[in-house]
Subunit: 307 residues, 2 copies
Amino acid sequence: MKSIKIFCPGSVANISCGFDILGLCLDNVGDEMIVTQTKKKGIELEICGDYIVTKDINKNAASVSALALLKSFKHIDFGFHISVNKKIKPGSGIGSSAASSAGSVFAINELLKRPFTNKELIPFAAEGEYACTNSYHADNITAVLLGGITLVRSNKEFDVVKLKTPLQLFVTIIHPQVEIKTSDSRILVQRKIEISKLTEQASNLGAFISALYNEDYDMISRCIKDIVVEPYRSEIIPEFNNLKKIALESGSIGFGISGSGPSMFSLSKGPKIANDVKINLEKHLEKKNIKYKSYVSMVNDTGIKII
Amino acid sequence: MKSIKIFCPGSVANISCGFDILGLCLDNVGDEMIVTQTKKKGIELEICGDYIVTKDINKNAASVSALALLKSFKHIDFGFHISVNKKIKPGSGIGSSAASSAGSVFAINELLKRPFTNKELIPFAAEGEYACTNSYHADNITAVLLGGITLVRSNKEFDVVKLKTPLQLFVTIIHPQVEIKTSDSRILVQRKIEISKLTEQASNLGAFISALYNEDYDMISRCIKDIVVEPYRSEIIPEFNNLKKIALESGSIGFGISGSGPSMFSLSKGPKIANDVKINLEKHLEKKNIKYKSYVSMVNDTGIKII
């Protein structure tokens, strides 16, 4: 039977200034997935790897999005077996569910010889995200399906755009091994804000996007701010303020919470600084006896890929 | 004595999705100003033209910004005579005070052989705006001083950037002859908003900026939305909803309030549609017996210029 093996990358949502809007695709952090066409109709699911996720076909992100995709075809007299090799910890803030949601539909679409573009797969992948978080948000799945740095204009219409990625932009991820559920973390931000804060947050987002096109790293640095969500969410992330200070002192051009945390991201110009940041963040967490995972990654401009 | 004559263009602030952030410089709508170096120290002010504005040196936008600029020099043993030929109606919503605030400092800087870049003139021009509106906002003056479409990241640090202007972008301005004071109009927007509205408004701004760089007119069209301010401000602008409908039916890719109104702007792809929009808006206001002024303008990429 036809079979495909893919790399399903992790991703950073929000990037501080773009809450529920921006996403960035990582390069060397992600799950693997093998999808095989089967004679039997429907979806079969197998989970292996470092982390346990639900095997319930109607709850697992990979199978839910796959089922949504299959529903869009009138007649299909075969099925698919999805084997998820989970390497991204669920609840880590680097898009574990998005990797699964997007991965399965990408793989099935490939096996069917691409009836859909990657962009057209977003609504199906969003069903997988919904199964995990009870809300339609396309920031992570868009980054994973299109690659690079992406913007979601509308989560209702899935109107998305891939932005330009400055070539020297590198990401450091530091993931303290504590779990925060995305759904819990979202409760923290159900607040009203002043119009002046809207203007401040939106102007940082606008200037950030312009800076991506102009490859203006200084401007990027001034824009990586979150005055709306970070003040609340950072309270439940261990050592957030100290880690931010260390990152910026190590040459980071921007530091914040990845998605709903607890992972944090740092952006740097070039891999050397990104690595310095990683080493200094690690040292601090070791001093504090907090277990962590950490990565340095370039921005993955391809997104999900066949391996 | 040395003398200079300049064109001080009108401008559109906000562009719906960028409240207090975006500005767009107009091409064939504006004041004229003659600035002459004088032996006498200080600033002299003369007002002529179609509209009356204050001649009080400490209140007029042109003289206040000029005085702020002169203060930045340690020794200056001469002065300037500023003659403002006012063609933009104050309170029209197309940057009448910004044209004056920016014009005088631009002209004096030219006469002094440019000790400052145009960007460096923004803090001085902002003093003129402050004198008229009691707030520091740089959206109009930035558009006028840099030309094109501009973004203000911070009104505190005057951190601004000139964006890319799609070549086929044309503007229609329709100005019903009713007066709304900017300061009154700002009161209407002192409200708190839901975080979800922040996301919606900011994502439109972000996508708009990306669309400028990609020259994606369809995306521009989907982004010219204002869910925060327009619902309130439009209530005090005569025929707003009907005019918006007419503009969009005439081929406009976006219609909204210019600055704090009552002028309205429409964006179109190409001059023909911009002119069709103008004609159809005029017809409607004539039917309703509302006096108006109207213009079609390309985006002025130069900003203020010597004439």
